[in-house]
Amino acid sequence: MNIPVTTTFTIEGYRITRYFGIVRGIIVRAPTIPQRMLGGLKSIIGGRVGAFTDMCEQARQQAYDLLIDHAVAIGANAIVGLRYDASDLGPGGTEVLCYGTAVQIEPER
C-alpha cells in the first residue's frame, strides 16, 4: 500500500501516464475533553502545547488517510502536488484539508 505521495509535480524515474484529477481528504476536529483540559492548563504556562499539537497532528493524519483512500478507490497509484490547508471553525474547531493530484505512473524507460 506504499503508494508514492509527493509535494512535487513529477516523480524522478517515473513517467505520469494518466491524470485522475484532484483527490482530497477533509476532516473537522475539535480537541477532546482531556486535550482541552491539558491544553488549557498548558496555555497558561506557555511554551509548546502538546495536547493541541497532538490534536492538529491527528487531524492531519486523518485527512491524509482519507486522501489515500480516495486515490486508491479511483485506481491511482501515486499522488503528486500534495498540499495541506487548514482553517478555523469557531472556538476550538479546526478543518484540515489535504489535496493532491491522483495519477498513474510507470517507470521511465
Binding site: I3, P4, I33, E106
Partner: protein, 198 residues
C-alpha cells in the same frame, strides 16, 4: 505499477504478519504521516453497507486497559454514580456535594475515556482476526477467505483495521460519499529539453 516496496520480502508468512503487527502498533507520533497499510476501498466489492464489523469485546478491553484501570476506574465509578443521581435524585445526589458542573464535566471525561478504550482495544488482539466476524485466523495464509463467514481478507487490511476500527469504518462509509470524479485523461508524450536549452 507502483514502485516496489522498499522493505525486502520476508522469509515466512509469520514474519510478514509480525511486521504488519509492529507497524499497526507503532504510536502515531513516531512517524507522521503514519504509513497507510491498506484502505477500505480495497475490500471486496461484494461487501456492502449493511455489513456487521467485528468490534472489541469486554475481554479485549480488559486486556488493553491493563494498568490503565487505575485511571479509568475512578472515571467509571463517577459515571456509575451519575446515573442513579440522575434517575433517583432524592436517594443519592453527588451533585449537591461536588456541584453539577463538575459532575457533568467528569461524566464527559469518563465517556471520552471509555470511547478511547473501545477504539484502542482491538490492538489487544495479537493474532490476525476476521474484521467482520472476529474469527481467529492464525495459521491461515494471506489473501484468503475467512473459514467462518467466507469473506475475503488480506493481512494488510486486518492490520489497518487493528490500528483504529472506528476510524476504518468511518473511512469505509466516507468512500461512499465521494463526489463523482471528472473523466481521467492520458498524459501526452514527454518532451525532454536538451541540455543546450533548445
Amino acid at each position: 505499477m507502483p514502485p516496489a516496496d522498499p522493505i525486502p520480502p520476508p522469509e515466512s508468512l509469520e514474519a510478514e504478519w509480525l511486521r504488519l503487527l509492529e507497524q499497526s502498533q507503532r504510536p502515531l507520533d513516531e512517524a507522521r504521516p503514519t504509513a497507510v497499510l491498506a484502505t477500505p476501498s480495497q475490500l471486496s466489492p461484494t461487501v456492502h453497507e449493511d455489513i456487521r464489523w467485528w468490534r472489541p469485546g469486554w475481554e479485549d478491553m480488559r486486556r488493553y486497559v491493563g494498568w490503565r484501570w487505575v485511571f479509568l476506574s475512578p472515571a467509571l465509578l463517577l459515571l456509575l454514580c451519575a446515573i442513579p443521581a440522575w434517575r433517583w435524585p432524592s436517594v443519592f445526589n453527588p451533585f449537591v456535594l461536588v456541584g453539577a458542573k463538575l459532575a457533568v464535566f467528569m461524566g464527559a471525561v469518563a465517556l471520552t475515556l471509555a470511547g478511547y478504550v473501545v477504539r484502542r482495544a482491538a490492538r489487544a488482539r495479537r493474532e490476525p482476526f476476521c474484521i467482520f466476524c472476529g474469527y481467529n485466523l492464525s495459521g491461515l495464509p494471506d489473501h484468503y477467505r475467512c473459514p467462518e463467514c467466507g469473506r475475503p481478507y488480506t493481512w494488510r487490511i486486518i492490520a489497518e483495521y487493528r490500528r483504529d476500527p472506528e476510524w476504518f469504518i468511518e473511512r469505509y462509509r466516507a468512500l461512499r460519499r465521494l463526489p463523482p470524479l471528472a473523466a481521467p485523461f492520458d498524459a501526452g508524450p514527454v518532451r525532454r529539453r536538451r541540455r543546450d536549452g533548445t
